[in-house]
Symmetry: D2
Subunit: 289 residues, 4 copies
C-alpha cells in the first residue's frame, strides 16, 4: 500500500469520542492523517467523516486494515467505504444530441484533470460519434423508442457490466431511465439538469425560465434516483440573465454553467468527497488536494 492515498468515508449515529477513536485507530496503524473532515448533523444525530491517509509509514495489507477497522466499525454502527486510489474509476458517458458537456468531460479526462478512464460513450442518436472519434473513445449507438425501451436498457446494462463501469454520467441524455435500471447503480449515476432545481423540473427548463421571467438561470448535478430530478444534489450554480435573453440565449448561457457544474460534481465523486444521507449529499470540500 506504500505511497498510496487511502480515503475512508464513514457515516454513523453521533456519539462522544468518535473523532478521537477513529483518528487514534489510523495513527496506531502507522498512517499519516493528511486530512480529517467531519460533519455532524445535529437535527438527525448523525455523524459523517472523510479521512485521507498517507500509507507511507505502514506495511499493513488491505485485508488486515479492513478487518481491524471492522472491529472498530461494528459496535459504533458505521456505514463506511474505503478507496485506495490504486485504480482509476471506469466511466461511461450517456448523451443524446447536445455536445458541450461531452467535449468538456472528454477534454478534462484526456488532460488528466478528471481522475478516471472514459470507457465508452452511449447514445440514443448517432449525432455525436465524430466527437468520440476525435478522442478515440468507443461510441455505442443504441436507438430507443417507447416500444424498445426495456430492451435498449438491457443492452446498455450489458455494455456497462461487461466493461465493469463504476460511474455513469448522464451528460444531457434526454431519456428517462427506468427505476429498475437506476436501481442497478445506486449513487453511481450522475445527471445534469439544466435548471436550478427544484425550479423547472422536467422538460424545457430554459423555455419555462424565459416565461417566468427569472433573473438568474442555473444548472444542477445530482445522483439519479427513481424520482426524476429529485435525487441528492451534488453541485449547483447560476448566472445572471436579463429580460433581453430569449430561450435560445438562455440555452447558450446555460451551456457554460452546465459544463462546470457537471465536471465539478464528477470530480467530487471520483475524488471520494461525497456521502449521501437520505436525499441530501454531504460534499466535503477538497482539503489541500
Amino acid at each position: 500500500m506504500k505511497s498510496q492515498i487511502v480515503t475512508f468515508l464513514i457515516k454513523c449515529p453521533d456519539q462522544k469520542g468518535l473523532v478521537s477513536k477513529i483518528t487514534s485507530f489510523f495513527f496506531e496503524k502507522g498512517f499519516n492523517i493528511l486530512s480529517c473532515q467531519q460533519y455532524v448533523n445535529a437535527i438527525e444525530d448523525t455523524y459523517f467523516m472523510r479521512v485521507r491517509l498517507n500509507a507511507d509509514g505502514t506495511n499493513i495489507s488491505k485485508a488486515v486494515l479492513e478487518n481491524s477497522f471492522l472491529e472498530l466499525a461494528e459496535p459504533l454502527n458505521f456505514k463506511w467505504s474505503v478507496n485506495y486510489g490504486d485504480k482509476k474509476q471506469q466511466v461511461a458517458i450517456m448523451v443524446s444530441h447536445t455536445s458541450h458537456n461531452l467535449y468538456d468531460l472528454l477534454e478534462r479526462a484526456k488532460e488528466g484533470r478528471l481522475a478516471c478512464t472514459i470507457k465508452m460513450i452511449i447514445s440514443n442518436h448517432d449525432t455525436l460519434r465524430p466527437i468520440a472519434n476525435m478522442f478515440d473513445i468507443p461510441y455505442y449507438y443504441l436507438p430507443v423508442t417507447r416500444e424498445t425501451k426495456l430492451q435498449q436498457e438491457a443492452e446498455v446494462l450489458n455494455l456497462l457490466e461487461a466493461h465493469k463501469v463504476d460511474l455513469i454520467i448522464m451528460a444531457r441524455y434526454m431519456q428517462i431511465l427506468s427505476p429498475s435500471f437506476i436501481n442497478h447503480f445506486p449513487e453511481r449515476i450522475i445527471n445534469i439538469h439544466h435548471s436550478f432545481l427544484p425550479a423547472f423540473q422536467g422538460a424545457n427548463p430554459y423555455k419555462k425560465a424565459y416565461e417566468r421571467g427569472v433573473k438568474l438561470i442555473g444548472a444542477t448535478a445530482h445522483y439519479a434516483t427513481e424520482d426524476l430530478d429529485e435525487g441528492p444534489i451534488i453541485e449547483q450554480d447560476v448566472k445572471p440573465v436579463t429580460h433581453e435573453s430569449t430561450p435560445s440565449t438562455l440555452k447558450r448561457i446555460g451551456a457554460d454553467i452546465e459544463k462546470l457544474v457537471l465536471a465539478n460534481a464528477v470530480k467530487c465523486h471520483l475524488n471520494n468527497q461525497i456521502i449521501v444521507a437520505g436525499n441530501r449529499a454531504i460534499v466535503f470540500p477538497e482539503a489541500g488536494e
Copy 2:
C-alpha cells in the same frame, strides 16, 4: 420644467422607425436625450423604450408636452407613462416580526440612497416599533386574525390612501393580502420572497431548502399579484451554502441576500427602470445615472 430629468416609459407593438420617430420628437421639442434604452421582444413583437431627457433647453409645459406626445402615441398604440422627477414617491413599508429588511430600507432612505419618503410602517405585530422610533417614522400596529382580515385590510387601505402612498413594500409581511387589496395597487406592491422563485414557493422556504439539500439559496423581489409568489420578478440573487447549513444558518445567510435584493428592486422601481409585460418585468439597467 427647467433642470428636470424627465423619464418616459413606452410599450407598443413593434414596427419600423420607432426609435427615430420618438427621439426626433424629443429633439424637436428641445430636450437633450440623456439615454435612450430599448428592448424588442421578437417573440411577442413588442417594443419597449425608456428614454431620459434633460429639460434644460426647453420651456415646454407638462400639459403641452403630454398633449403633443399623445399625437405621436395614439396612432402607434403606445402604452406610456412619464415621470418628471419633481416629487419623491411616498412609500409605506409593511412588516411582521423580521427586522433586517426594515433596517436596511430605513437606512437607505435616510442616507439618501433611496429616492423616496418613507411615510409609515404598518405591521400586524408591535414588535418592530422601536426601530420605527429610532428613524422617526410613524408606526401603525394593526393586528389581524382570520376573522378580522377584511376589516384590517380596509384600515390599511384607508391609511395608504389618506397618505397618498405611491408604493407599498412588503418587507417580510407574513400575511397573504386579498386579491381585492392587491388590485388596488397594480405594479405598486413589491414583495420579497425568501427563496429563489419559482423554487420553494409558499411558507418556510429555508426549511424546504435544507430538506432538499440545495447548494445555493436565494431571494426574489417581485410585484405582488393575485397569485401568491407568481408576480413579475424584478430582482433575484443567490449565495452558495453547504451541507453544514441548518435551516437557521440558511435563514441568517439568506437575510443578507434579502436585504440587497429588495433594496435593489425598490431602487429600480423608484428610478423608473421597470416596464411590466404580462408576467415578466423588463428592468432596464441604470444608464450612467
Copy 3:
C-alpha cells in the same frame, strides 16, 4: 464551565499523530467535540486546528484544563489560544465621514447577529454622531491634524484601554494609524479597504478602478499591520460593473460590498474562526454553528 462552547485555536509544526493526540486529550477530559477542523500547509509544514468543545460532560476548571493542555502543547510546539465563550468581546468602531458600514455593524450588534458589545464609536469628525445617538452608543469626536496626530492617537489609546476594548473595527476611518498604535493591537484591528486588494491600494480606489476600466469592483477586510493595505486578508468580495459606471456609481455599488465583507470578517473574528500565519489568514468556515 457547564454548557459552554470552548474553542481552541492551535498552530504548530506538522507531525504525525496530531489530530489523534489532540482529540484524545479532549475526549479523555470529558468534552464532547462539536467540530474539529484542520488545515495542513504542506509548503511550510505547518498544522492548524480549530476545535470546538461542548463542556456539558465535564467539571474541569479553566485552570486545570489549561495546565493539562500545556503539557500536551509544549513538546509539540503549539502556539494556541482558548476562548470560553463566556464573555462578549468589547468592540470599538472608528469612522470618518462614511456611514454605511457603521449602520450595518450597529444594526447587526443590536439585533444579536454579531456576538459583541459595541462600547464606543471614535471619529476624527463629528458627522456621524446622530447615528451613534440612534443606537445609544457613546461617540468620541477626536479631530486630528498632521501636528496633533500622535497626541490624538494617545487619546484614542487611552479610551480603548480604559474600556478594555478587545477589537477595533476601522469602518472607513480615513486616517493612517502609526505603526506604534497598530502594534498595540496585533490581529485585533480589522480594516475595510474599498478595493479588491492588492489592486488599487491607497487612496481613491474607485476613481482608479474607473480609470483602469475594470469590469468588477471589490472590497477587502484585513487585519491592520504596519504596512498599509498589506495585512492578512480575512474576506473579499466583488460585484460586476460596466463601462456605464462612473466613480460615484462605483462608490454606491461598492458600499454594499463593503458592508457585507466587513461584517463577515468581524463575525469570523468574534467567532474564533481565524488563525494568522505570516501574512495569510486561515479562516475556518463555520461548522454547523
Copy 4:
C-alpha cells in the same frame, strides 16, 4: 445586402440630437433598426453608439450607404466602423504549453458558438500539436529564444498576413510580444491574463495570489498594448478560494475562469460589441442576439 445584419460602431464628441439624427438616417435609408445602444461618457463628453440594422427593406449598396453616412459623420466628428456580417473573421490562436483555453476555443468554433474561422495555431513549443490535429487546424511551431525573437516575430507576422488574419488570440502564449509587433494589430490582439488585473501583473500570478492570501482569484481578457497587462479590459471574472488552496490548486481553479473569460471576450469582439476609448473598453451587452 438583403437579409444581412449590419452593425455600426460610432464614437464622437457628445452633442444634442445625435440619437435622433443617426436613427433617422438609417430609417430613411429603409433599414429596420434591430437595436440601438448608446453610452454617454459625461466625464469626457464623448458619445458611443452601437446600432444593429436589418437590411431587408433596402436595396442600398455598401458604397452608397457608406458615402451617405460620411456626409452625416464628418460634420459631427464621428469615428466609426461598419460590419456587414457577410464574412467570418479569420482567427489565429497563439499558445505555449497550456491546453485548456485552446481546447475551449476550438470546441466553440467547431460547434458554431464562436462566429469565426480558426485559420491556424502558432506556438513556440510543439507540445499542443496533437490538439490541433484533433480539430484539423494547421499548427505552426516557431520556437523562440532571446536572440531569435525579432526573426520569429517576423515569421509570425508573415503567416498572419499571408492568411489575412483579422484577430489574434493569445491563449496563454507565454512570450512578451514586441511593441512593433503589437502595433501591427491595434485592438486586434486579445490576451488572457491569469489574474484579476491590475492585481498580480506579470509572471506567476497564482503563486503571488497564494502568497498574498487572497480569498478570490480571477482572470482578465484584454486587448494587448505596448504596456504589458495594461491594455483595455474586455472581461473579468473571479471565483472564491480559501486558505486550503495551494498555488497548483489555484492554477486548476483558475483554468476554468480563464476559459470562460477569454471565450466571452472573443465572442464580444467577433460580435462587434466593443468600442475602445483610451484605455477603457466599452463593451455593449448583447441586445436580444
